[in-house]
Amino acid sequence: MDLRFTDDEIAFRDEVRQFFAENLPNDIHAKMLDGEYPDKDGLVAWTRILNSKGWAVPHWPEEHGGIGWGPMKQYIFLEELQKYPCPQPLAFGVNMVGPVIYTFGNEAQKKQFLPRIANLDDWWCQGFSEPGAGSDLASLKTRAVRDGDHYVVNGQKTWTTLAQYADWIFCLVRTDTQAKKQEGISFLLIDMNTPGIEVRPIVTIDGGREINEVFFTDVRVPVANLVGEENKGWDYAKFLLGNERTNIARIGVSKQKIARIRELAAKEMSRGRPLLEDPRFREKIASVEIELKALEMTQLRVVAADAKRGNTGKPDPASSILKIKGSQIQQATTHLLMEVMGPYAMPFQHDTGEGWNEPPVGPDYAAHAAPGYFNYRKVSIYGGSNEIQKNIIAKAVLGL
């Protein structure tokens, strides 16, 4: 056992850091530091910078555009990306549908979609959840009925993140109503410009515009857009949800938040001294740091095991640990950051498109603190809620 990074890994980390420092556009960096995300154009621009370096999809197999970094390097890359902080390439493309396509798709689909995903030429969104099918995803009702060379799709998806920007949506649809519920589901790729698709925004509690409802009325989808076999979509969905072990805990994001908390707590005053000098507040930061360090080591254990064994692509209960603890830590950091601002967390000065273009109330770094806290309640809900993750561990690990 040697728990230190190798010299090679350290050199790699420095190279990555330097690249981010030299190449991330300043306006995007400023937004990210502020707890905001870039708009569509910003993410496209950044993805293309990464892609021209060959770093947009480093975790993909080399034949599809990846670089053949082992899990440890991938992990270091991602952590540095999050810590800087740079925006992450759009997960729906590079982490979700991309791997599904190169693993289960046909040659034509690989050729058509993979390069465009890496370059963010196509913006993808995820059409899994429905109003009646959340945790119980397999009960989904959106229907696809075969009609010659097409499927005709009718139904509704919801909570669809960033569907307002999307060129494509990958959907789970029901193709067999007679079979057991997991066995009648197919995985369809649908062009968002097809007639019959309507996107309606849902405003989140932080005032943000990130999720949508997507309605399908007699939407005709070429059979060529079916991934893999009909009625095998559930397997692909499980693969998709389970194959992400390096990203789920978002260690780098939390490290960056903690650095930000320290930086701003040194500026905010409490009883005539910087808040950072308040022992109670320092203890709270330290407490989150301990949790985060432990989770980082857990994460590295998982990464190292993957490196030895090769990523099997099978769901691993370790993902559930990383998801539960990672979401709790992310939520704790957003709450602490809000606490830093004291009463200045209260004014609503979040740019939601309604346009907040007045001078800030209080410090110019407080605007996103409370919205960030509200918004991050989502991380223990989506991607399999923490209750569902605990069910998985109880069953798969503890045998209960």
Partner: protein, 385 residues
């Protein structure tokens, strides 16, 4: 001790709840939120007509002679529906200064106007670097003939955009964080030199930045004793915190009801999600936190007009700390148990969560009051020697 309402209190509560049942509800509240003032003038008039704006003032001043318990009852009901009208800013906070700091002439002038709903008030105290420290006052007051000249910048005055008159704290002498040397003045919102800039808070309620530039006020603008303003501010804010705790209890209990109702109706895996024991226990934790908050709020309410400032402050800090913790637990669990719908503005749960988060911050968050209580020696006396 008697935990039952008097007949008058029951009538008051029933009448108010009837009014709010008619005038509030998710859709109606959203229309009020969207209006420029962010609340409903019509509902405000009803509240005044019911006599609620006269509630905490002495009968000889034109009030109804209600006590802190009556205010608790009203605030809890307002909290249940997330009422937006400026009752807290005008009657509880502003009214607190009138009642506790006003002389006979000042009370005679102001109480009738508060009582009929025509006068709206605010309290502009916080400053940029004050955080939650009540004694932090950089704004200055200089004696000028019979009156005073005020200069400074105040932040986050609740209801400050709607207020006709604003109580401001200013320093006559001493260092920025000295307890001595502070005074409280009432200024007209449209007096020369007063600039307000209104905005919304995260929960949709309104506040304002208030700048004072060579604002001249007459001697009658002073409330309470010059230089002894801190004690007045401490007392009024303690009472206001007790009232805010009651509002939180109303919001927590409504949010808990909503969540339990959701657990009974939402189905996943073929059953109501309320059948999952882990969710039952989470709902029970919310229930326990709400009842603990209710109890400690009653304690703070009982102590809120105590003349023993130490005893009063300890009780109020205890309540604010406990209510803040409980509010967070209830709010976060409510969102979690609602799943995706909890994350949207289209369901009530998120609105309650945001209000409760703001209440925790207002006048000092849970941790602030925990520290304050610890510094004051805690709640229970050590065994007699």
């Amino acid at each position: 001790m008697d935990f039952d309402f008097t007949e008058e209190q029951s009538m008051l509560k029933d009448a108010l709840d009837r009014l709010l049942a008619n005038e509030y509800g998710f859709e109606k509240r959203n229309t009020y939120l969207k209006a420029p003032e962010g609340w409903s003038p019509a509902v405000w008039n009803h509240i005044a007509e019911m006599g609620l704006c006269a509630l905490p003032f002495a009968e000889e001043d034109g009030g109804l002679g209600g006590g802190t318990e009556d205010i608790m009852i009203v605030m809890e009901s307002l909290g249940r529906v997330l009422a937006l009208e400026p009752y807290f800013a005008t009657v509880v906070l502003g009214g607190g200064f009138v009642r506790e700091g006003g002389n006979a002439a000042q009370r005679a002038e102001l109480v009738p106007k508060i009582a009929d709903g025509s006068l709206k008030l605010a309290f502009a105290h916080t400053e940029r670097n004050a955080r939650y420290d009540l004694s932090h006052v950089e704004t200055t007051a200089k004696k000028d003939g019979d009156g005073y000249v005020l200069n400074g910048a105040k932040s986050l005055a609740l209801g400050g955009d709607a207020a006709d008159k604003i109580f401001v704290s200013a320093r006559l002498s001493g260092g920025i964080r000295d307890v001595d040397g502070v005074a409280v003045f009432l200024v007209d919102a449209d007096a020369p030199g007063v600039t307000g800039r209104g905005y919304r808070l995260q929960d949709g309620t309104h506040a304002a930045e208030v700048t004072l530039e060579n604002v001249r006020v007459a001697a009658q603008a002073l409330f309470g004793e010059a230089g002894k303003g801190h004690a007045l501010i401490a007392k009024v804010t303690d009472q206001a915190i007790a009232a805010l705790c009651a509002e939180a209890v109303g919001a927590m209990s409504a949010l808990h009801d909503l969540t339990v109702e959701y657990l009974k109706t939402r189905k996943q895996f073929g059953v109501e999600i309320g059948k999952f024991q882990v969710l039952q226990h989470a709902a029970v934790d919310m229930f326990v936190a709400t009842e603990q908050a209710r109890s400690i709020t009653m304690y703070a309410t009982m102590m809120a007009d105590s003349d023993d400032a130490g005893e009063r402050s300890r009780a109020v800090s205890a309540a604010k700390a406990e209510v803040g913790r409980g509010a967070r637990l209830v709010g976060e669990n409510a969102i979690q148990l609602h799943g995706g719908v909890g994350m949207t503005m289209e369901f009530a749960a998120g609105h309650y969560f945001k209000r409760l988060t703001m209440i925790d911050i207002l006048f000092g968050d849970s941790d602030h009051h925990l520290s304050k209580l610890a510094e004051m020696g805690g709640l229970f006396e050590t065994a007699a020697a």
